[in-house]
Each structure stands twice: as C-alpha cells, then as structure tokens.
C-alpha cells in the first residue's frame, strides 16, 4: 500500500511479523491463522500489539480512506441486501411431536367409573321393583324387606342423611321397558305430584338400599300425605341425579345449537359460492362467453340472499332470550359474550367473502364486450397466420436454395 519509502513503514502490517498485507480482511485472516496461539497466551505480545496499534492508528487515521473498499458487514448493509422483511420458511415446517394419552386415560377411568355405573344401575333396578311391583300397604314392609335386605340401625355407616326424593320429577330408567317409561311419563306431569293409577296412592316411606327403619329415627311425615315420595340417602340421590342430568343432556335439543349449526352451514355455502361468482364476473368482463349472463345474475342474487340470511340469523342468535321470549332462557353474562363473538365472527366471514363482489355488466355492455373480444380473437388468429405463412414461406425458399 502506501509506502513512502522512508524508514517508517506504514500500511496494513502484521504487528508480529511485520508483513505487509495490503488489506484489512487479509490482515485479519493472517493474524487469526498464524498468530493465534502466541497472542492469546503471551501478555507481552498483547501489550506490544496495543502499543503498535496505538502508533499505527495515529498515522493511518491521517490517510484518506475513500480509496479503501471493503465489504461492510454492518447491520444497515445486511438489511439492504435481503429482499424482504417477511419471515420466511424455506422448508415446510410440519406439526411438532405430540402424543395422545387417551388409551391410558380411558383404561384408568374405566376401572373406577365402572363401579359408579354398576351402583347406579343397581339402584335403578331396586327402585323399579319397589315402585312398580309394590303390593298394597299391608304387605309393603315385607315386600320391601324382601327386595332389599334391611340392616340394623347401628351397622349402617352410610345413611346419615336423607332427603325426600320426589320420584316423579327425577326418575327415568333405561331398565324399564318402553311401555313402563310411557306410563311413568304420564305420571310425571308436574314437578312434585306423583299421581295416577299406575301406583298406589300411598305415602311410601321408603328408605334406600341400606335401609333403616324410619320410625326409629323419628322422621317427620311428608307434609302432604297424598304425595307419593321415596326417601333416599344423599349418596344415592347424587347417583340418581347424575343419571338424570346425563339423560337430559342427551335428549334435549337446544334451539340455540340448531341456530348456530344453521349459521355455520350458511357461511360455508357462501364461502364456496363466492369464488365461482368472482370467476364468472371476471370472465364476463372480458367478453368471454364461457358463462351466461343469466347464470351470473342468478348466482349474485343467491349470494345476496345468503348474505341477508346470515346477517339476520346472527342477529337473532345474539338477541336470543333477551326479549323475554318464554321459550328462550335468559342468557348468562358469559353467554352474552359468546353470542356477541359468534355474531362478530359471522360478520367477519361475510366481509371476507362477499364484501367486494364485482359488478356484472348489463346486457348491452355485455354485447359490446363480446364484440370486442371476438375482434381481439380474430386479430390474433390473423397475426398467427401471417407468422406461420412467413415461416412456411422461408422454409420453402430455404429448401429451394438447397436444391439448387
């Protein structure tokens, strides 16, 4: 580099061996390769380096650096070279490792939950026997004793509490046959009454499977002696309630859920039809006759009506139960948020698919466009013919040249 010929040497000199390396990158590589070991251990060398750099810096800083070209590795340059700031994925990243523990879980659950199912079913069967097959008052006690063995007072550890259990309200039972179920249902009209011919009109003080004599406990009679009721202990009550809830859930169709499913269907329909409509409109604008104008108009009408339906349905879902409708239960605060979100989501889906529906040309416009398109096609064909003609002409002339 700049060597002005005096005793003092300048330039990109290695401080260890004083070789002139002419370039910053070369200097760096040289030191790294050749002087790595010596410099990292030897403190004297480092001090010498510091001194040498200090002196060199003074001199070099006076040199004009515009002539030195180097590849700058600064951040700014890096950014300029990379084409965009979007996060790129060069290879397809697939879902990471995950595993299902369902089989282990279900086998654990079956072990203990089965016990509960068995108990519940036993209970149901006993109740069934005691209610349906119950003979008249006199032999009731014997019958009860027969069906369910009664244990002595003290030995029962379970039934410390019991509550009146209104049979009509609670009991449905898969163990019964269909006819028995219907007769039960007839009986269970109102909430607490237990009426009708199927069962004798007696108060049945019936204690549960771990039976204890009621009188010994001094239980009060039910207020209405007309009512038939059974008394069960807390544990069995829970089992029976649980069963009832499960049955309720399975059989009860919710209007709300139906509305929601309908909404989902409508949205799927719209998102399926919308791209074909856009294609149609684009082709018609070009004057092509792949699709007819009427078909496009029809499709547009359909999309419009779907849009209206979605909007009104989502509004209904949001306001369901808020207007004192007797069929609809009043929504809880979280439910209100839920419905608001459903409506928001429906509107967002609409915006994505339907909002920028392109225009279809009117009949006259379409005629004009068709004409223009035909013209274009004709012109293209003619141009091609010309080109082909020239080519074939040149082939002929070439051949003719060869022959001669």
């Amino acid at each position: 580099m700049d060597n002005n010929g005096s005793e003092i040497r300048q330039g990109f000199l290695c401080p260890f061996c004083f070789r002139d390396l002419c370039d910053s990158n070369a200097l760096y590589k040289h030191v790294e390769e050749n002087h790595q070991e010596t410099s990292s251990i030897n403190n004297d060398a480092i001090d010498a380096l510091k001194g040498a750099f200090g002196r060199a810096k003074q001199k070099i800083l006076k040199i004009d650096f515009s002539t030195i070209a180097g590849t700058s590795q600064s951040r700014e340059d890096l950014r300029e070279t990379s084409p965009n700031y979007v996060y790129f994925e060069e290879e397809n990243q697939t879902v990471g490792i995950h595993r299902s523990l369902k089989s282990i879980y279900v086998s654990d659950r079956d072990n203990c939950v089965n016990a509960v199912a068995v108990d519940t079913n036993n209970l149901i069967i006993r109740l069934d026997k005691l209610i349906n097959d119950c003979p008249d008052e006199a032999s009731r006690k014997d019958f009860e004793k027969e069906t369910v063995p009664w244990t002595a007072d003290n030995s029962s550890a379970y039934c410390s509490k019991f509550l009146p259990f209104m049979v009509a309200q609670k009991l449905t039972n898969p163990a019964f046959t269909a006819t028995e179920i219907s007769s039960f249902k007839k009986n269970s009209t109102a909430l607490t009454k237990f009426s009708d011919s199927g069962v004798k009109r007696q108060t049945t003080k019936f204690l549960s499977s771990f039976g204890i004599e009621a009188s010994k406990f001094g239980i009060e009679q039910p207020s209405n002696p007309e009512e038939q009721s059974l008394r069960v202990c807390l544990k069995c009550k829970k089992l029976l309630e649980r069963r009832q809830e499960a049955m309720d859930q399975m059989s009860m169709p919710s209007v709300f859920v139906d509305m929601y499913e309908k909404l989902c269907q409508l949205i799927t329909q719209v998102s399926n039809l919308s791209p074909s409509y856009k294609r149609m409109a684009a082709s018609l604008k070009n004057g092509e006759s792949m699709y007819t104008l009427e078909a496009a108009v029809q499709l547009r009408k359909k999309l419009g009506s779907l849009q209206h339906e979605i909007q009104s349905l989502s509004e209904r879902i949001e306001k369901w139960g808020l207007q004192g409708d007797p069929l609809a239960p009043k929504p809880t605060p979280r439910e209100i948020i839920l419905r608001g979100n459903i409506r928001y989501s429906a509107i967002a889906a609409l915006q994505e698919t339907v909002l920028d529906m392109p225009e279809i040309p009117s009949k006259e416009e379409y005629q004009e466009l068709k004409e223009k398109h035909k013209e274009k096609v004709r012109r293209q064909l003619e141009e091609e013919k010309e080109v082909n003609g020239i080519r074939s002409f040149s082939v002929i002339s070439f051949e003719s040249c060869i022959e001669t």
Binding site: S74, Y87, Q93, I97, I104, V106, D108, S254, D356
Partner: protein
C-alpha cells in the same frame, strides 16, 4: 425452525381434534400468554372458539352445557387439582385435555378417577412451553429468576429444563448440547436434558440430530441489557416497557390508546419496521401518514354512487390503516419525547464509546459531567456507571469509587448504588470467560482496530452482542471446549444446521434483533445455520437492574468495592 408457526400448528391441531361445534378455550396464566402471542382473538373465533376462560383465577364460571371445552394448561399440581374438581362437576358438555408438557402417569390417574361423568373425550400432550414473542425468540415469564447467589431456584430450574425439552420436541430435534462450564446451572440443565431425552426416548424416535443447544448464562454478556437501544422493538421495550407484545401506555402523559398490541403478524408497518433504526422509522412513519392523508382526502370527494360504493367497500381497510397509523404515531411520538427529555442521544453515544473504544480519559470526564446533568435519570446514571465499572474493571486508572460517590449525592438509595458491586460480583472479569470487550486476544484486538479505522456508519449501533461471537465460532466448528463443555464429546467440532441458544438470566431485544438479521442472511447465504433464541425473560435495563438490586444484600456492612490493580 419457527416458534410462532410451531405454536400455531399445535393450536390448529387442538381445535381440529375436537371436531365441529362451539368451543371454549380454558387456559392458565402461562398458556394464555402463549396463545395470545400467536393468535388474534378473531383467528381463534374463525375456528369456532368463541369464549376464552382462565382455569386458575378461581373465578366462578357459569355452566354452558352446549359447549365443548378445550383445556390447554401446564401439567402442574395446582392445575391438576382444579381440573379434578371441574371434572367432578363439569360445566361443559365435553372436555378435551391438552397439556403443554409431559404429564405423569400418577396425575393422569387422578384425573381419570375424577372423571365420573366421562366428560373427557381426548387427552393429549402438545409441547409448547414458552411464549413465542417472535418466530425466533421464545421466553419464559421469569424476570427474577435467580436466588442468591446467582443460582436458579429449584422451581425455576425445573421450569427451564421443561421449556428446553418442549422446544426440542416442537421442532422434532434431538439436539446435542454445549453448555457454559463456568455456570453450574448450565451444566445441571445440560445433564437434566440428557436424562430427559433418555427417559422419553420414544418421543425422540422421530427426531433429527442436526441441532445443537448452547446453554449460557447472562453473566457472560452483561453489556447487552445495559445499553440504550435504537431499533423499534428494542427501543419500545427499553423506554416504555413491553410485556408479551403489549405496551402499557397508562403512564404516558399523552391522550391516546392505553394498551397497545404490537403484533407483526397483523400489523404490516410493525413487521417492516420492527428491526429498523429510529431514523428510518421516522421516515417510514412520515410516508405512512402521507399515504393515509391522501386516502382520507379522496374520500371526501364522494360524488357519484360508484364513488360511495368504492368508499364503503374500502372502508374496513381504511379503518385498519387509520388504526395502525394512530398507534404508531402515538408510540413514535412518545419515544421521541423520551429521547429528548432524557438526553438519550448524548448518553447513548457515551455508552457506545465506553464499550467500543475504551479510552478512559475521554470517557471519564464526559461520564462525570453526564452524571451530574439534570436531564440524566437515575436509571441512566446507574447504567453508565455500571458500563464504566465493567469496562475499566482491570484498568489502572479506574476511579469507580468517585463515581459511586456522585451517585450517592444524587440521592439514590444505598441498595441501588450497591447493585454496581453486585454486578461486578455477578459478571465481573473474574467470572467471565470470554473476551467481551475485545481486549484479551490478538484476533479480537485486530478486529476492533480495523473497525476503528474504517469508521462507523452509526455511532449508536456499534455494539454487537456476545452471542454473535458464539455463533461465528460455532459455525466454524471452533467453539472453545475450555469455555463450553459438550454433552457428547464427539460432537465438539460438528457443524450443525440448527442452533438454539438458551440464556439463563434473560435475553435482550438487541440480541433478538441480531438473531433475526442473522436468520435473514440465510436467504443469500444458505450455508448458515438457523438460529432460535430462548431465555427466562426479555430484559430491559430496568428489569436487569431490578434483578441485581434484588440480589444485593440489604445490610450496611457491605465492604466497599476494591479495585483490581
């Protein structure tokens, strides 16, 4: 290796497994952060998740029997307990249990026994156990992770190990490990990780061997969290504070949005400007505002129905842009104000000079002047003193006690002033293994010399964090065995396609910026590895100093700092 995409794919799988129907997503505190950083609520609603609840707040949830419940929680004892109570009295129709890490067989049994209603339809493990702040940055929520003296507490250690395991599994890798030998926690983490891979070898069967995890401690580079930042994301975090991509503007004197969400997936401007310098951001905001004004003006000339229709059609887009413009104008305005009010240009220049050139006489006088300047806040005063303490620790002209005295005169608390000594105990030259300031080895010195000669384009962005050195050495297969041990000795010089860096003690957005740009270089240089950065939290200077203060003993009888001659 993109953590955002991995999280999104897992959550998509979760919703897919549960089939059609209205769903509610039940999460705990940590998984809520994970999901909210990866998705906007509207995206979740598009997948039929219409309600978002927390499992662990103890709030009473109403029963909604027509909903399917997706439970996505960490498999901790507390969560399991709450879940068992829930299953005994289920509020929803069906439950799909998804755990963010491995759940023990015993816990699974407890859940199974509580599931009397048989409400659970699926139990699954999806391995996301850290918050994905950007495609290449994933953190835990552990800003104060150390217990005295500078070791991870037991619970935090376990949490870190679990996060590492999840990270490996989500990218389907069975990595080798390089750990910083001088950090006991790094060594223990490496051992624990290897044990876990052995225990769960079935999970790792389908995993590839092309990755290395480098575990290091924050103390190897205490400089990065102490510097003022000038790229958008880092600056916002440094000057205002960001938590899980949310900026809390309640302390800002201006009127405006109080809670700003910065999400690159949904905000074009942020995506383009996240890693750009303040100057460039200013220009881009100006052009954004010009665009917006132009559009706004055209909308005032609604003459025909066609015009009106166009306006209505484009109104949502317009509104979106308006929202974005308002948000960024507010943010950049506040940043500008703070830069002026705290005299940050001068302070940052001094910081960079201290770190880059290390000319003591130059720095010392300016430092003293700035410490006494009325615009310098306590935080900046501490920051400068700490940088000085680190840089000139071994220098013969070190005059730290004089500076500490000036700090005391500023009426700073004793613990704050003492935290400078804590920093030196934590990350001083005695503890560091590396050549942080480029003054130990000839190679580094030469580099600095050349840099000094070439001049710097931007005096505020001279600093390059230490992890870049590690990456370079790793790429050349020359990562020092003396400093970084290996879990398997034959992997010392292997070249890896993918690198995961885990920093115990917090990463910084400066490091995240560098990692992002390094990954971008792969577009033009495909030989470079992919890098993901992971840590216990993302520090700014405030949280870093808070951690130091917390580790500073309270007693008055702390011996004064003795200079290392």
């Amino acid at each position: 290796m993109n953590t955002l995409i991995a999280t999104q794919q897992y959550v998509h799988e979760m919703t897919r497994l549960s089939g059609p129907g209205m769903k509610v997503l039940l999460m705990d505190k940590e998984t809520t952060s994970m999901v909210s950083c990866a998705f906007a609520q509207s995206e979740m609603m598009a997948r039929e998740v219409y309600l978002f609840e927390r499992l662990d707040t103890g709030a009473e949830r109403e029963p909604l029997k027509f909903l399917k419940c997706l439970v996505f929680v960490r498999p901790t004892l507390e969560n399991i307990q709450i879940l068992t109570e829930e299953l005994r009295a289920p509020k929803y129709a069906q439950y799909y249990l998804y755990f963010s890490n491995i759940i023990s067989k015993a816990d699974l049994k407890i859940l199974a026994e509580a599931d009397e209603f048989e409400a659970v339809r699926e139990v699954h493990e999806f391995y996301i156990d850290a918050i994905p702040l950007s495609p290449y940055l994933t953190v835990l929520a552990m800003p104060l992770c150390y217990e005295t003296p500078f070791n991870l507490s037991g619970g935090n250690f376990r949490r870190c190990a679990q996060a590492l395991l999840a990270l490996a599994l989500q990218f389907k890798k069975k990595p080798a490990i390089r750990f910083q030998k001088s950090s006991r926690d790094a060594q223990r983490l490496a051992d624990e990780f290897v044990k876990m891979t052995v225990r769960e070898d079935k999970l790792f069967e389908a995993c590839r061997n092309d990755t290395v995890i480098v575990i290091m401690d924050r103390s190897e580079d205490p400089v990065s969290p102490l510097l003022n930042q000038w790229t958008y994301e880092a600056m916002v975090h440094e000057l205002i504070g960001m938590n899980n991509n949310r900026v809390n503007m309640t302390n800002v004197p201006d009127e405006g949005i109080k809670n700003i969400v910065l999400s690159a997936q949904h905000d074009d401007f942020y995506a383009k400007n996240r890693y750009l310098n303040f100057g460039e951001i200013g220009q881009n905001i100006k052009s954004l505002m010009n665009d917006y004004q132009k559009k706004a003006q055209t909308h005032q000339q609604l003459e025909s129905i066609a015009d009106m229709k166009k306006f209505v059609d484009q109104y949502p887009q317009f509104k979106k842009i308006a929202g974005t413009v308002a948000k960024h104008v507010q943010l950049v305005g506040e940043l500008s104000r703070l830069v002026g009010a705290q005299n940050l240009l001068e302070i940052s220049e001094l910081e960079q000079t201290i770190v880059a050139t290390g000319d003591h006489s130059q720095c010392f006088d300016r430092l003293k002047r700035l410490l006494k300047h009325e615009k310098t806040t306590d935080l900046n005063a501490l920051r400068l003193t700490m940088l000085y303490a680190l840089r000139f620790e071994g220098s013969s002209s070190n005059s730290l006690p004089a500076l500490l005295e000036i700090l005391r005169q500023r009426k700073m608390s004793i613990r704050q002033v003492e935290s400078v000594n804590t920093l030196l105990r934590y990350a001083g030259a005695r503890k560091r293994q590396n050549d942080l300031f480029g003054n130990k080895s000839a190679v580094e010195m030469t580099k600095r010399f050349i840099k000094g000669l070439k001049g710097v384009e931007n005096v505020y962005t001279q600093h390059e964090p230490y992890i870049m050195q590690i990456l370079e050495q790793l790429h050349k297969g020359k990562l020092s065995e003396i400093i970084f041990g290996a879990s398997e000795l034959n992997t010392l010089n292997t070249h890896y396609d993918n690198v995961i860096i885990f920093i115990i003690g917090g990463a910084t957005f400066e490091e995240s910026t560098f990692i992002h740009l390094y990954n971008e270089r792969r577009l033009t240089n495909p030989g470079l590895p992919r890098v993901v950065l992971s840590s216990t939290s993302v520090h700014n200077t405030k949280t870093f100093i808070e951690q130091l203060i917390q580790l500073t003993p309270d007693s008055q009888a702390v011996p004064p700092f003795a200079s290392i001659a």
